[in-house]
Symmetry: C2
Subunit: 374 residues, 2 copies
């Protein structure tokens, strides 16, 4: 098939891990007879330097013409303050393309089970998928609903105060909950909906929607769980979960916590999906869960697996190439089983290699498997 | 000394664990020559049944006359919906007495290190103290600042939406951050301030205040940490933390997560402090971090240690009886070292005992130590 992929490598370790993911995609194209047109654009610090904004309108227009976006990471050393900030690139992309469903699978690889701070017996059987709402909540202002700026620091009389608003419409909740139930239908058919309904109105509305969508999916079992209890159960009983659906900020916190089940945040991929159809599936943005890690950038030390597994998700969800995606995942698994490790997962020694070599090993493995299957 | 303690045992396992904590306090009074007047009041489901509200004005007035409140747990089977809810008792108490600083120490006991899902080498050296802001944020509406009800579900045109507001004044941030720095000064002198300043205005204000209070405490080192990264580091490097200060909901989530370091949420005590002085310290509410656990209520299965250690915090913070508090903590440690365990921490068998027997063992140990010291 032909597909257009927009690559936004970004800051810090973004470029080096994205390079490996792109090379994996190119290898897939070669082995399976596809044609992927790779386009690139600036995001983050480089874009701020070049255009004064974390992502330009031109780059956004380029994304709109692609089937999918492969994203690296954004974030500089100074993340907070006035002026344009690199993370705004992510927010612009998430809102421009209404990327409302952020999928973050957590499945510890057998070869890495000892890399986790958790005891192996607690990890056993863990294979869960977060569906984090990504388009609303505290992350975004809703000018039309709250008079005044919904998120700001202001003086009122003689005091200074800061306000953020957490707003969800029923539709915003419904579309992401629906995605979660559909994804669960193709997995172990269980949805855990996470909220703080004993405190938040938005969570009470969230529960109502879950109950309605749940009734429409009798084949899927589901439960409500409070976010504080979830933070505990993720460590104590991770194998109990199948699909976990939750609002934006809860998802942000819980997925970083859950990354420790996989041994390192460097292992985790993500997909941010909207509703625009592509020839092979749905338009999306794919990125490793880890950030830009400026302290180890350009030292060939970053773990490229999160990025490579994100490319596999891209193949599956935006291009409809499920067996190619599975081949990439199997190649990663085989390379880990052979003991190759970047430093973040080198708990057992293994064979310590750099970013580029780990990517190369995955491509070699892809080629070997392809040969064996001929 | 003479002191008045208001006991609000509440729902589920609240009464049975609180009974043990009260008996420990009575034993302390006897051994050390104090006079504690114990008063009791209804909160939660019983109060709703009796008065139609989760806590009555009379009970609140009784609390106002006490030096401290010993609280059990509230929460019924159906926690969400219309009508009075048991948790409202907690919110009323927190706001009525401006209990803004919620202290939750997490220090895994040596004897229980194997009860945690984490590998012992990750737990080594863990001794941290959360200072959770408890009086503001998403938990409370601020009618005067946001027109309309700040937390509600409403229809706007043809859509239904729900809104919650996250509001902090500079003063609300400052008083809790100041407590955190003061507490750190008497510990390992390090403060980690947790926020989401790359997204929230309230976190940007939070950072400013931390920086200012930090400058006033040159003897204490401190850092900013994003809440998602904190959720990860709590598992990967728990021993790195000393005092962690954060806003209300982040603290709710992170403390439940961190409870797993101690092996069971049943182990953890808490103190919610305001600024009203008592003869021996400051007025406060003391409660185990665990909830009402209705599924195991009245079966002599609940772990009373969280409640007993909360009583120790009461002795220390509200009555100024630091050595009595330390004696209770040492007694708990000794009983655990002797292998006595409720079921939630009985990972290694040990000697499985019920709620009442574990409490009895702690009191016996207190008496033995007292004898030895004569
Ligand atoms: C960079 C940051 C704004 C972002 C978020 O909070 O969404 C990141 O933590 C993530 O999880 O993708
Ligand atoms: C019962 C509930 C409202 C409460 C809270 O969220 O504050 C509890 O989880 C806690 O941590 O004390």
């Amino acid at each position: 098939m032909n597909a257009v992929i927009m690559v936004l490598a970004g800051d810090g370790t973004g470029p080096e891990v994205t390079d490996q993911a792109v090379e994996v995609l190119e290898m897939v194209a070669e082995l399976y007879g596809h044609r992927f047109m790779i386009r690139t654009g600036l995001v983050g610090m480089d874009a701020i330097e070049a255009y004064g904004t974390a992502i330009s309108e031109d780059t956004l227009a380029g994304c709109a013409q692609a089937d999918a976006i492969l994203f690296g990471a954004v974030g500089g050393v100074a993340q907070v303050g006035d002026g344009p900030r690199p993370e705004q690139a992510l927010f612009r992309l998430r809102t421009s393309f209404e990327l409302f469903a952020n999928l973050r699978p957590v499945r510890p690889f057998g070869a890495l089970v000892d890399a986790s701070p958790l005891k192996p017996e607690y990890l056993k059987g863990t294979d869960l998928l977060f569906v984090r709402e990504l388009s609303a909540g505290l992350y975004y202002g809703h000018l039309e609903t709250v008079p005044g700026k919904p998120s700001e620091i202001r003086r009122r009389g003689d005091r200074i105060e800061a306000i953020d608003t957490l707003l969800y419409t029923e539709d915003e909740i419904e579309r992401v909950v629906r995605s979660a139930f559909e994804l669960a239908g193709a997995r172990r058919r269980h949805v855990t909906s996470v909220d703080k309904a004993n405190v938040l109105s938005s969570s009470v509305l969230w529960r109502r929607v879950v109950e309605r969508v749940g009734r429409e999916h009798p084949e899927v079992s589901w439960e409500h769980l409070l976010v504080d209890t979830c933070a505990m159960r993720l460590i104590r009983n991770p194998a109990e979960f199948d699909v976990i659906v939750t609002e934006n900020l809860f998802g942000d916190i819980l997925t970083d916590e859950a990354s420790m089940l996989a041994g390192s945040i460097g292992m985790l991929p993500s997909a941010s999906l909207g509703s625009r159809r592509t020839p092979g599936g749905v338009f999306g943005l794919y990125e490793p869960v880890h950030g830009s890690a400026p302290d180890i950038a350009r030292q060939d030390r970053a773990n490229p697996i999160g990025a490579i597994l994100s490319a596999a998700m891209l193949l599956r969800h935006s291009l409809g190439l499920a067996s190619e995606a599975a081949a990439v995942e199997a190649a990663v698994e085989a390379v880990l089983a052979d003991g190759f490790r970047t430093e973040d997962i080198a708990y057992d020694g293994g064979t310590a290699v750099g970013t580029a070599e780990l990517g190369l090993r995955v491509r070699e493995q892809l080629a070997i498997t392809d040969q064996q299957n001929q």
